[in-house]
């Protein structure tokens, strides 16, 4: 079975990082309630799994314990929850472990989103085709068969004529043998008997005075025999060619039944997020698995909509944690992908979490890796908020009835499968997208050092964005005006100054005045010249001493802050 799976992922974002909100008090129900309960710590995230349990099993157990209805639309709760598990064999020392982990998490999320949209509507296209190819073998060999029959007839004709003529010639010398020859039917014995008889006649004719007519007749017999032999050889060759052709034709399809099935589903999804996630690793077999429980509900969509439309700031929630407090309670090392949390300040937070491996001894690449993690985290956050999800899956089965070498027909089944699931966002301007946290930690399954980035689309920031941007642009307008004035002022000054530039009369007057001043001053200083130049060497010495005391010449480990005291009342 050829299995081709393509999971493509496109993203084109115009990330206008700003801020914003609006009032929105949610009654937590359906998807929200489940998300909230889990995120408030009423359902514990699994940690320290046994290697015998795969992530999917653990996640399903957790969902069962919690009483979640997972698999399709939950009419009572007005939500849909879906679990998916992906995995592959990855060695713990694989330098791309974290990248593969991230890709598997994305795959799990994509599969889950595909299942969510497929539960609303899916279009199936299918076809069954039965085909019986024409041009059977017998028809393809018709010409050869005719030729072989003609050759056989011609050959037989020559043999029989040779037989008759030889019998007549021989009867004058050996009637018994001539009768024997006449009585032999067409076949191998006739050939050998003919050859033996002709040889005998040749010897007889050589030893006796024989008429030219008889010699000519014997010569003709020989020629007929040679022609017959030649035709037989040609026929043999042709038969061999036919055999090859038959062998080639064997294996040809006699009948084919093709079934194809394709399902497509496509729709935008707002607010789908990961509620729970479990990763498992069996270091003996190198098997890594990650399972995600993805949830979507109309309430989650409403939250996403409020953020996108700039009206998503709810009332403070006294029983909730702050977003930072919530993050403090999470095991970020085992989280990847989208999350959502309603925090105590009333804001809705659609988060994205991503991790990259880093080398603590390579500080040079740290900032780049950090940026990479941030970017992927933002991607997860944005795609959770809004994405166009499309799923195309197709299967094909081909049953072929093939003519085997033994002439029997046997069936072969060929299968093919392809899947293309994608989610994308294009040219979406999002306000309130921020990098919430960067944390260095250790990925527990592999012991790798990782940088975890948490990005967030915050509803409060999204609402404030308009006001903040208004202030920023008003400030810019003021600065632009001031800059214009300064530029004009300077231009005016330069223009006025240029009026006396390179003026010959003023120049000459200046020359005369300067010369006079210098001459006068020189004369005035004549009495003091003897006492000048004292104290110069002492001053130089002090400068050198100061320079030496500033240079230590040794390095040391540690950390330093350049900004010890800053104003933070902005």
């Amino acid at each position: 079975m050829k299995k081709f799976v393509q999971i493509s992922f496109t993203l084109a974002l115009a990330l206008a990082m700003s801020i914003f909100t609006a009032s929105n008090a949610f009654s937590q129900d359906g998807g929200n309630a489940a998300v909230a309960e889990f995120q408030d710590g009423k359902v514990e995230a699994p940690r320290g799994l046994s290697s015998s349990q795969k992530a999917g099993n653990v996640l399903r157990q957790l969902a069962r314990k919690k009483g979640f209805k997972v698999g399709g639309w939950d009419d009572k709760k007005n939500r849909i929850m879906v679990t998916t598990q992906t995995g592959e064999a990855i060695d713990a020392y694989d330098p791309d472990f974290l990248q593969k982990r991230e890709a598997l998490a994305i795959e799990a999320s994509l599969l889950a989103k595909a299942r969510i949209i497929e539960s609303f509507t899916t279009t199936a296209s299918a076809e069954n085709i039965l085909s019986v190819p024409g041009n059977p073998i017998a028809k393809q060999l018709e010409a050869e068969q005719k030729q072989i029959k003609a050759m056989e007839a011609q050959s037989q004709k020559f043999y029989l004529e040779a037989q008759r003529e030889t019998s007549v010639l021989l009867s004058a010398y050996d009637q018994a043998q001539a009768d024997e020859l006449r009585g032999v039917t067409y076949g191998d014995r006739l050939n050998s008997l003919l050859e033996a008889t002709i040889k005998k006649l040749d010897e007889t004719f050589d030893s006796q005075q024989i008429s030219d007519d008889k010699k000519q007749r014997l010569s003709d017999v020989k020629m007929r025999l040679d022609r017959a032999k030649k035709i037989q050889e040609d026929k043999k060759k042709l038969l061999e060619e036919v055999q090859i052709k038959i062998a080639e034709l064997q294996g040809q399809v006699k009948k084919e039944t093709k079934s194809t099935m394709e399902t497509t589903s496509s729709m935008p999804l707002f607010g789908a997020t990961t509620l729970m996630q479990v990763e498992s690793y069996d270091d003996l077999r190198g098997q890594y698995n990650i399972a995600s429980l993805v949830v979507w509900s109309p309430k989650l969509e409403q939250e996403a909509r409020d953020i996108l439309l700039g009206s998503g700031k709810g009332k403070p929630r006294k029983n909730k944690l702050s977003i930072d407090g919530w993050l403090d309670k999470q095991n970020l090392s085992s989280m990847v992908g989208a999350r959502r949390y309603l925090s105590s300040d009333g804001s809705t937070n659609f988060m994205g979490i991503s991790a990259v491996e880093y080398d603590p001894d390579d500080s040079g690449s740290y900032s780049m890796l950090e940026e990479e993690a941030i970017l992927w985290a933002k991607q997860a956050a944005v795609l959770s908020l809004k994405s166009s999800v499309e799923s195309v899956k197709s299967a094909e089965r081909l049953k072929r009835d093939i003519l085997g070498a033994d002439g029997k027909v046997e069936s072969k089944i060929l299968k093919d499968f392809s899947a293309n699931i994608q989610e994308s966002v294009k040219n979406l301007t999002i306000r309130g997208l921020e990098t919430l946290r960067i944390e260095e930690t250790v990925h527990e399954p592999t012991g790798k050092n990782i940088i975890v980035a948490v990005a967030n689309v915050n509803s409060a920031l999204a609402v404030k964005a308009s006001d903040i941007m208004k202030d920023i642009y008003a400030t810019l307008k003021e600065v632009n005006a001031d800059q214009s004035f300064i530029q004009g002022e300077e231009a005016g000054m330069k223009a006025e100054a240029n009026k006396t530039l390179n003026n010959k009369a003023i120049f000459d007057a200046g020359v005369a005045s300067g010369a006079n001043q210098v001459a006068s001053e020189y004369d005035n200083r004549a009495a003091d010249r003897a006492s000048m130049n004292r104290g110069q060497s002492q001053q130089d010495e002090e400068t050198v001493k100061e320079d030496i005391s500033d240079t230590s010449g040794e390095s040391q480990s540690g950390s330093w802050a350049s900004d010890i005291e800053v104003d933070d009342d902005f």
Binding site: K3, V5, G56, N57, R60, K69, V70, G71, G72, W73, D75, V82, T83, T84, Q85, T86, L111, R115, E118, S119, F120, T121, T122, T123, A124, S125, A126, E127, N128, I129, L130, S131, S259, T260, M261, T263, K393, S394, A395, R397, K415, F417, A419
Partner: protein, 121 residues
Amino acid sequence: MSTSSYSSVPIPWDDLLLENQSSLNSVGYFVNADDHFHYLGFKVVQEDPLGAEFQFLLAFQDRISELLVELCVGARSSLMPSYQFNFSFIKNVVEQDQGTIFITSVSRQVLVQEVKYACAR
């Protein structure tokens, strides 16, 4: 074909799962119907989710083809040797420890429409 409903809303997938669990466990699928919908369920023992999807698509194709054959016979015709159909359906996927369950609902009306194209007169 035991389930009956007089509503144009399909039976919830979890009810179908509960009702047909024994068929799923014994033969790996069920085909059911009410006045408005055909319900087809499949159990696939395959850990890889995409592999499971593949098995589902083939099984779904087979059962749908059988359904169409039945409908063609009912319409005193036969399924064309070469035909193509195109219709919408609803699909729910339930991950279980023993395998993946696919539960689908297809509108009766939709399949009746398909008969026009799939059956030879």
